[in-house]
Amino acid sequence: MPFLSEVLIASLILIGAFFLFVGSLGLAKLPDLMRRLHGPTKATTLGIGSMLVASMLYFLLVGGHFSVHELLITIFLFLTAPVSAHMIAKAHILRSRRERSALPVTGGKVGWATLDENGS
C-alpha cells in the first residue's frame, strides 16, 4: 500500500480517537448536565465519523472492495445524535426545578412544550 494513504488512514484514526476522548472528557469534567451535553453530541459524533471514514478507506485501499456499511452507520449516527440530545435535554428540564427557573420566555403566548400542560 502506498505510504501516503497509510499516513492518511492512520491520521484519521488518531483524529477520531482524539475527538472521542475529548467528548468523554467533557462528559466527566463539566459541572452540570446541559454543559456536559455539548461534549458527547458534537465531539463524539465527529470522532466516530472520522473513524468510520478511516475504516472505509482502509478496506477500499487494502482489500480493494468498496464497503458502504460504514457510510450507513455514519449517516445514521449523524441523524440520531441531535434527537437523543434533545430528548435528554427535555427530560432534564422536566426533572430539574432549578433548571426550569433559569429558562427564558418563549416570546409567544404559550410556554415551552415540555412544561406545557397540553404539549408533549
Partner: protein
C-alpha cells in the same frame, strides 16, 4: 392514480437506496427488491403519513449540506478547545430563545438538528405553539449575534428549501 400508488416518491427512493447499501451489493437484483419494498412499505403505512412535505429548491439542499458539514468540523475544534483548556465553571453558558420564521414541522426539525450539531449550541426544547426554539449555548458573549447567525446562516436557506 400515481399519487395513490406512490404516496411518497422520495421515501420510496430512500428505502431502495438504503436496502442496496445494507446489502453492500450494487446489482440490479437488489435494486429491484429495494424498489418493491419501497413501493410496499409506504403504501402499507401511508395512514400514518398524512402530510406530504415538499421540496422547493433541491439544489440548495447540497449547498446547505456542505455548509453544515463544514460547520460541524469547525464547531468540534472550538468545543474541543473549550473542554480541554477552560475550567468548566468559568464557561459563560446561558439559554437563549430563538424566535422562528419557519412554520412546517419538517423545516423546524431540520433546523433544531442543525443547531445541535453546529458551534457551541444545543437545542433543548421547542415552544408549545412551535414559534420559538430554546437553545443552550456553551460559551457566548453576545446572544444577539448567535441568534442572528442562526437566522441568516441556516433558517433563511431552510425557508428557501421547504417553504
Amino acid at each position: 392514480m400515481l399519487t395513490r400508488l406512490v404516496p411518497h416518491p422520495l421515501l420510496t427512493l430512500l428505502i431502495a437506496v438504503v436496502w442496496v447499501l445494507l446489502n453492500n451489493d450494487v446489482s440490479i437484483a437488489q435494486a429491484v427488491i429495494g424498489l418493491v419494498l419501497g413501493l410496499l412499505i409506504p403504501k402499507a403505512t401511508s395512514a400514518y403519513w398524512p402530510g406530504r412535505p415538499r421540496m422547493r429548491a433541491p439544489l440548495v439542499v447540497i449547498e446547505y449540506l456542505l455548509i453544515v458539514l463544514w460547520d460541524i468540523v469547525v464547531s468540534n475544534v472550538q468545543v474541543a478547545y473549550l473542554i480541554l483548556f477552560r475550567r468548566g465553571d468559568r464557561l459563560r453558558t446561558r439559554y437563549i430563545s430563538v424566535p422562528l420564521v419557519l412554520t412546517t414541522p419538517e423545516a423546524i426539525t431540520v433546523l433544531a438538528g442543525t443547531i445541535t450539531m453546529t458551534p457551541g449550541t444545543v437545542t433543548a426544547d421547542v415552544s408549545a405553539d412551535g414559534c420559538a426554539l430554546l437553545v443552550h449555548c456553551l460559551e457566548t458573549d453576545d446572544p444577539e449575534a448567535t441568534i442572528a447567525r442562526i437566522k441568516t446562516r441556516y433558517e433563511q436557506r431552510l425557508k428557501r428549501i421547504f417553504e
